[in-house]
Symmetry: C2
Subunit: 209 residues, 2 copies
């Protein structure tokens, strides 16, 4: 199915009836506070699945799943996934390993939120998104990024300006082009590397792509 930008796959607390496997879409798990402020918990692309709480047994989570980059995904009825999960074969194994990778990403998000500045967080975020897309272009307003990072839009403007002046990215009105990926990695904090390394370790079949 098509996943347009901004589509909400699950709302906080919703009983999740389906799981989603993005192909070229990116979905963010976002927590929205009572005040309306928000913070991204993790980002899911075609390496992963939306709806881990189904097979983890909770059937819902306190966070929202929202499409951050338009594309398509496969949708599967929860019951069908569970049939296969309960065969306790390779799929179960895979799903649990993916879930551990997700846990690593969430942990590192917590660490990054605590210790790193907006500049570094933006780098981490761009890299995580880039890894889940083909090409080096993101369609993404600064306002949206700000919502994901849980910071002010002006803060993103400033950080993005620095990256642009450093020749790392180029952007105009919602289109971001990454010009120098290795420099982006240099300017990022260790958080990205930790997540990347752990994801590759847990899901080695992905690296082959």
């Amino acid at each position: 199915m098509a996943l347009p930008l901004g589509k909400i796959l699950y709302e906080s607390g919703d009983t999740q009836r389906h799981v989603f496997f993005p192909t070229d879409a990116i979905v963010s798990l976002l927590y929205v506070m009572e005040s309306g402020a928000s913070a991204e918990i993790s980002v899911v692309g075609n390496e992963g699945i939306i709806g881990v709480s189904l097979f983890m047994g909770g059937e819902s989570t306190p966070s929202r799943a929202i499409v951050q980059s338009a594309g398509t995904a496969y949708r599967l009825l929860g019951e069908r996934l569970m049939e296969e999960f309960n065969r306790h074969g390779e799929l179960q194994n895979l799903l649990l390993r993916y879930t551990q990778a997700l846990i690593t990403q969430m942990s590192q998000t917590a660490v990054c939120n605590r210790h790193h500045g907006i500049d570094q967080q933006l780098c981490r975020w761009l890299l995580l998104s880039l890894d889940r897309l083909s090409g080096n272009r993101l369609i993404m307003t600064q306002e949206l990024i700000a919502n994901m990072l849980g910071v002010r839009r002006e803060g993103v403007t400033e950080a993005a300006g620095k990256l642009q002046r450093a020749g790392v990215i180029n952007y105009r009105r919602g289109h971001i082009e990454v010009l120098d990926r290795s420099k982006l990695e240099e300017m990022s904090c260790e958080c990205y590397a930790v997540v990347k390394r752990e994801t590759d370790r847990l899901l080695p079949y992905l690296s082959a792509r």
Copy 2:
């Protein structure tokens, strides 16, 4: 086995051979950065298990497990846990549900780190610890709390001073006594409530205690 304060159960990246079930000890999952700065990812007491990565399939995590409040725990060889896990019965179910509760705690830590001040985070942290102990006393220096929250020791001093002046806690040289728990909950952010509610939902048998 006895778990003295400060004991490290796993170091980052260690292959985990055992799992631990705390009885009256509290263990923190802590990420330590290259710079030496640290941040707590989640806290585990007798509601949980240390070493979820064993049955999740990763066998290690990038974080450290360190005893934050001395006490005792059961230790079980990983292979034995896996034998039982692979019977796909109620234990597997329980472990996965616990892991989802852990995920919620990590997510909320990320949110809290982003949006809330030291005062509120201290409240959340005290409540999470208190829930995992009997009684209303913690043996805990401000320096240790600062390491867990990933803030300066002075920041904790200031926040704890506010709580003391408000009559919520009383402390002296490493001993904290909670005088007014309901007020502590009031002064905390929504993060504690979210974690508490979700833990109770996922592990209802705990509420009965």
